[in-house]
């Protein structure tokens, strides 16, 4: 496909409003030189051409900075026009990429006309067959400024390699390698390497070993349980018999204890009764009773002092003489009266009567003589019973102890151990056979295998791990394939880059041979990250200014032509670094090595180059663009009549001349001043 820069237009921007169509835009090996004095907006135009080719976005500040000083409106526009020549049956196309600026909002919006038959579409949408070369790296190759020449030769940079990669799609292959990495099909959790699988397999091994161990243990426990059951059955009858005997003894002992307790209570009751009987001492002896009766009889006969006193008192009152026959005078009366007080009164008589009454009461017998001894005999009998019962109990206890033979004790001990052993084994088997709910699986799986004894849990963990390993193995396998594919692509890219670099080197040198005079001892020795110059065994970092430019042009044009597409070479200051003599050489041959050269120059670059181009026989467009301001009146005055007639049509901001003579003779104010200074 052959692509030409057809022209551009600008409105409301820092560069003057203009509409440019390059006259030779359909001609191969043509050169279009655009002469613009400093301050005319050359840099702005080149930047906007680059933007249209890459579709890069604009910052608000950048948009605002692009606004023309005389633009009172909020909008501006730049359009790049490209011409695609017919190829492989496709008809020619006129493609336009337009940027519409809104200075108030600070935005630049792209529109695309992919063909004149299609309308204007929103967005940067160049045709797909063109898009592959419209990457920033490619654009750097065919829209380059003077410094690009140096950067291609700079061994600290990789501009040459990046340019080749961009032009031949190798950058895209590298991008593809990365994109494969980030593809959703590899967006999976878990291990992605053999190491990860090995780790999982090691974990699985532990669980399998634990399963084996638990199955062995279960089998052993079941055998032990069988043996324990047999032991149990064997000893059970004997143990039960022993237990039954022990029960009889225990029952008898309990009966004796009960009788002992009852007898003790009866003894207590009999003791109280006996004591009550023996509280009456008269009951103990009939002789004592007789004696007391005698005492009572004597007391009955007793003249008590109380009676005597009354006697004395009656004597005083009634008798004229004392009992001693002495007259009862006052002295005698007084003496008798005072002595009577020393005899017993009535209260003393009551005491004596009380004694007599008591003797009467207690001396009367209530029981027959034999009856007095009954309680005591009863008590003695009960005590005898108690002693016998206690002796029987002691004998029984002693007998029971002595009867529990060592053999029986051993039987019971063995029986108890047997029961305990069975219970323990059953518990252990239950633990191993215990089922596991699915909910606990993740918790179990995170623990050490040797901590888990449930075979069901172990089986579930093993199943889960096996599934995971299968998934991981598949993932790892896919990752291996992916890595293999990536390595293959990298290897292919590297090999392709090397082969392409060698071909570019060889073909660029062919172009250099056409440019350089015969016998020039410089060529491109190799193209790696940078272009290495030299000749045969000798290497050199740089050539002369013209040689460097020639190398850059050869390299760029080779890339452009060999990529399968022919692109224009758009150069800012193409001859700045080249001395006049070399310009003549380059001017004669450069068109032959490039499809189309569009060079933005200032008047000082023309010397040597312009004349050589004009004499080369290749199509040459010469455009001179300057601002339509009073200060440029002297330029306007030099326009030919025919050119002057077009001024009004072109626009009020810029004057565009296509006249080669005007181009040749045009000198900007800067260069005039510079020339004056140099003359001084």
């Amino acid at each position: 496909m052959i692509i030409f820069l057809k022209g551009w237009s600008s409105k409301g921007l820092r560069c003057p409003d203009m509409q440019i169509t390059l006259p030779s835009y359909k001609t191969q090996n043509s050169v279009s030189l655009i002469q613009m004095p400093n301050g005319t907006g050359k840099t702005t135009i080149i930047e906007l051409i680059e933007a249209c080719l890459t579709g890069s976005s604009f910052t608000r500040e950048k948009v605002i900075a692009l606004k023309g000083q005389t633009n009172d409106s909020a909008i501006g526009e730049f359009a790049l026009h490209i011409y695609a020549a017919p190829y492989f049956g496709r008809s020619e196309r006129n493609i336009s990429i337009i940027i519409k600026f809104n200075f108030d909002e600070g935005i630049g919006t792209y529109y695309t006309i992919r063909d004149t038959s299609t309308g204007q579409e929103l967005g940067w949408q160049p045709p797909s067959d063109l898009r592959a070369l419209l990457s920033p790296r490619c654009i750097e190759v065919f829209v380059f400024k003077g410094d690009k020449v140096e950067s291609l030769l700079d061994k600290t940079r990789d501009d040459a390699e990046q340019a080749i990669k961009a032009f031949f799609g190798i950058s895209k292959v590298s991008e593809l390698v990365e994109k494969i990495n980030s593809s959703a099909i590899f967006d999976v959790q878990g291990p992605k390497t053999d190491k990860g699988v090995t780790q999982q397999q090691n974990v699985l091994k532990k669980w399998l070993l634990q399963k084996q161990s638990m199955e062995g243990e279960k089998s052993r426990l079941e055998s032990e349980l069988l043996q324990a059951d047999r032991d149990y059955e064997e000893i059970k009858d004997r143990a039960e018999k022993i237990r039954a005997g022990e029960k009889d003894a225990r029952d008898k002992l309990a009966e004796l204890e009960s009788k002992i307790q009852a007898t003790q209570l009866e003894i207590l009751a009999t003791s109280e009764k006996t004591l009550r009987v023996y509280k009456n001492p008269l009951s103990l002896s009939p002789r004592l009773t007789s004696k007391v009766e005698t005492l009572r009889s004597n007391l009955d006969q007793l003249k008590l002092p109380g009676t005597s006193r009354t006697f004395f008192l009656e004597l005083i009152e009634k008798s004229p003489v004392c009992i001693c026959d002495r007259p009862m005078n006052d002295v005698a009366k007084g003496a008798i009266k005072s002595k009577s007080d020393s005899y017993l009164g009535d209260e003393h008589i009551s005491v004596v009567n009380g004694i007599k009454e008591a003797i009467q009461t207690f001396s009367t017998p209530t029981h027959e003589a034999d009856e007095y001894f009954l309680p005591l005999r009863e008590l003695r009998s009960k005590l005898g019973d108690l002693k016998q019962l206690e002796a029987s109990r002691d004998v029984l206890v002693q007998l029971n102890i002595s009867q529990a033979s060592e053999q029986d004790q051993q039987v019971m001990l063995t029986f108890e151990e047997c029961v305990k052993k069975r219970t323990k084994i059953e518990g252990q088997i239950d633990e191993i056979s215990q089922p596991l709910s699915d909910e606990s699986l993740s918790a179990i799986a995170s623990r050490n295998a040797d901590e888990i004894r449930s075979l069901d849990a172990i089986d579930k963990v093993i199943r889960s791990l096996t599934e995971k390993i299968a998934e991981t193995t598949k993932t790892v396998d896919n990752f291996k394939r992916k890595e293999l594919l990536q390595e293959c692509l990298k290897k292919a890219s590297k090999a392709a880059l090397q082969r392409i670099s060698e071909v570019v080197c060889e073909r660029a040198n062919r172009k250099l041979n056409d440019i350089f005079p015969s016998g020039t001892l410089i060529e491109i020795k190799s193209i790696g990250k940078h272009i290495q110059l030299g000749f045969r065994d000798r290497s050199q970092a740089k050539g002369s200014g013209a040689q460097n430019v020639a190398v850059a042009y050869s390299f760029a044009s080779t890339l452009l032509s060999q990529s399968g597409m022919k692109f224009p070479l758009i150069v800012d200051h193409p001859m700045t670094a080249v001395e006049v003599g070399a310009r003549e050489v380059l001017g004669r041959v450069l068109p032959s090595v490039c499809n189309q050269i569009v060079g933005f120059v200032i008047d000082t670059e023309k010397e040597g180059f312009f004349d050589a181009l004009a004499q080369s026989g290749f199509a040459l467009d010469t455009l001179t663009i300057f601002r339509n301001i009073p200060g440029n009146q002297h330029h306007k005055d030099k326009l030919s009549n025919s050119e002057r007639a077009k001024v009004g049509q072109i626009g009020s901001e810029a004057i565009v001349s296509f006249d080669p003579e005007f181009f040749r003779n045009f000198k900007s104010k800067d260069s005039v001043l510079l020339g004056s200074k140099q003359n001084v």
Binding site: S128, R131, A132, F168, G169, I170, K172, V173, E175, L176, K179, I180, S183, A184, I185, D477, N478, K480, R481, K482, L484, L485, E487, C488, L489, K491, A492, S493, A495, A496, R499, I500, V503, V504, Q562, S563, G564
Partner: protein
């Protein structure tokens, strides 16, 4: 041989070297479509998956 053919040749050699000779056409197709920006993401994933599945890794 064009420069584009150089890449194809390099890829051919690389696929042979990595044991992916059978997959050469599928790999080249993926690369060409990717470079031409003609492939939507879903199609890319699908084509890549088919390619990965078809690759036989060396034991």
């Amino acid at each position: 041989m064009t420069l584009h053919e150089q890449f194809e040749s390099a890829l051919k050699d690389a696929t042979e070297e990595f044991g992916l000779g059978k997959n050469y056409s599928a790999i080249l197709s993926l690369v060409e479509k990717y470079i031409s920006d003609e492939m939507p993401q879903a199609q890319f994933n699908s084509q890549l998956k088919n390619l990965i599945d078809s690759i036989e890794t060396r034991s």
